[in-house]
């Protein structure tokens, strides 16, 4: 998809001044075709089944939060969406094209339509903040240094970072600043999809809320589809208009789906599934019994 068609896509996205979009509203606003689609996706590492038979459609403009306990396969699924992990079985489609069957060049082109915010920002230690944010721009197109500087400074300002930060090394920054630099780097190519991996993990409540606000602000500024992987319920409720909950495959019985919840954040508290309610309320439940058995055993 070229830049013009991206602009035309922007036209079908509702003005997101109101950040509390509901699922139905987003679906109505989109063209009806899913932007991202996962069909029967399974991922196995050695003999460990991490994901099994995942079915999912994400419409354009939607903000999807994927929640679930540690080790349930959230991050692996997210990496599968952008082709960083190849599914063992199943298919992934982005804008109608199969990511799972793309060649190197095509996959590289497709990845540039994604912005990826990693769990610990994954900034390159050997580069300054400026070089980190400029990196995707320099990789993707021939641009003048003036244009690079203008774009880097604009994106750093958008995430609330002062100019002097640009010439620091990532090691000199706090966790919140690193996440914001990671967000600036993810947004510099104006991606169609922004994928956030645990954006608030390891941050204090105030900085977590700053990051949540930046995610919402990104939606207001750019016509992006967002996938947020988190186990922070505050983040899921605040930024998402649809929530998906994964459950670890190893804890499931025969023929049970790994997706135990799919709906708006407002339904989480009253979900029929006990495991969802427990997760949302942060209750250990039967895990305490398992722990006791483990200690006695």
């Amino acid at each position: 998809m070229n830049a013009e068609s991206r602009q035309s896509d922007a036209g079908v996205i509702p003005d997101q001044e109101d950040s509390s979009l509901k699922v139905g509203e987003t679906d109505q606003a989109s063209d009806g075709q899913p932007l991202i689609e996962a069909r029967h996706v399974s991922v196995v590492f050695d003999d460990q089944v991490v994901l099994q038979d995942i079915e999912l459609q994400i419409t354009r403009g939607q903000t999807l939060a994927i929640i679930g306990e540690s080790g349930c396969g959230k991050t692996v699924f997210m990496k599968t969406l952008v082709g960083l992990v190849r599914p063992t079985r199943g298919e992934i489609f982005f804008d109608g094209e199969g990511i799972h069957q793309m060649g190197y060049a095509e996959l590289t082109r497709t990845r540039r339509r994604f912005g990826f915010v990693f769990q610990n920002a994954a900034l390159f230690d050997s580069m300054s903040v400026y070089e980190n944010v400029a990196f995707p721009l320099r990789q993707s197109e021939v641009v003048t240094e003036t244009a690079v500087e203008e774009s880097v400074m604009q994106h750093l300002a958008e995430v609330g970072l002062p100019k002097n930060v640009a010439y620091k090394r990532p090691a000199e920054l706090s966790g919140g600043m690193r996440k914001r630099v990671g967000l600036a780097r993810a947004l510099i190519l104006k991606p169609e999809v922004v994928v956030y991996d645990e954006p608030t993990t390891g941050l204090d409540p105030i900085m977590s809320d700053v990051i949540n606000e930046l995610i919402l602000d990104t939606r207001r500024r750019y016509p992006v589809t967002s996938v947020v992987v988190t186990h922070d319920m505050h983040t899921a409720r605040k930024v998402a208009d649809r929530v998906l909950m994964f459950y670890p495959r190893s804890r499931l019985g025969d023929n049970e789906s790994q997706v135990v919840f799919d709906g708006p954040p407002s339904s989480l508290e009253h979900a029929e599934d006990r495991r969802v309610r427990q997760f949302v309320r942060g209750e250990a439940g039967e895990r305490l019994m398992e722990l006791a058995h483990g200690l006695s055993g």
């Binding site: 399974s42 099994q52 952008v82 990693f118 990196f135």
Partner: protein, 287 residues
Amino acid sequence: MSDSANSLSSSSKPDSPFARWVNQWGSAVVDGITTIGDMTLFSWAMLKWLFTRLPCRGTVLVNFYQVGALSLPVVALTGTFIGMVLAVQSYAQFHAIGLDSRLGAVINSTLVKELGPVLAATMLAGRVGGAMAAVLGTMRVTEQIDALTAMGADPIHYLVVPRFLACILLIPSLTIMADFMGIVGGYFYSVIILGIDHAAYLNHSRDGVTGFDLFSGIFKSVFFGSTIAIVSCYRGFHCEPGAEGVGKAATTAFVYSFVLILAVDLFLTIVMNSIYYTIYPNGSSFL
């Protein structure tokens, strides 16, 4: 777990001790073959980039500085000491048969043919190979390599090709430095400390080393450099999680590189000797 899950993963554990023994050895053999295959594909991907698109000057120069300029002092120092050690070790035997003045020929020949290239490669494996594996391993663990891929850059092109170029292009210079400093060290100890005649020492030294010896040492060093780069980068790229994983990657990079350097040395020495005696059947050379 459902049938389909079972079909995705098969994890049946053998019961008898013999079955467990077969299972363990089988796994080790399969792992070994997989690693060799994986490393071959890794090298192939790197070579494809090398011949299709070179990395930008900035990334190459940084690696040239790390591999070449920063390794030079340590290679020179070890070369000097090894030259002197050779003089110390050989003197007693040569003195006993009255061939003190021939010491230079033995020291220089040993250095130029074997010790110079192997020593330079060993120092490079320890100083640069371990660091390469640790840096790339940390990048793997902290998802920086995933970030490169996600941003449309190829990690092998961006990270491995510059390191490979730096190793293969600069190791000949480091080898020449190790040879030269070893010869100087050997001369210093033999002539200045042990009092061997200066003119006789130099005369025999010149006779002991041929142009082919020098060429063969430098030629071998290029293979040592490529071994260090490929093994170290591969170990870094396949680093296990955590600080222990990074440490293990750095250690195994050095150990595997060192063992492979010696194995490649043996193979190339046999090949070079065959070539030498094919070209010079009477043992003469072009010098």
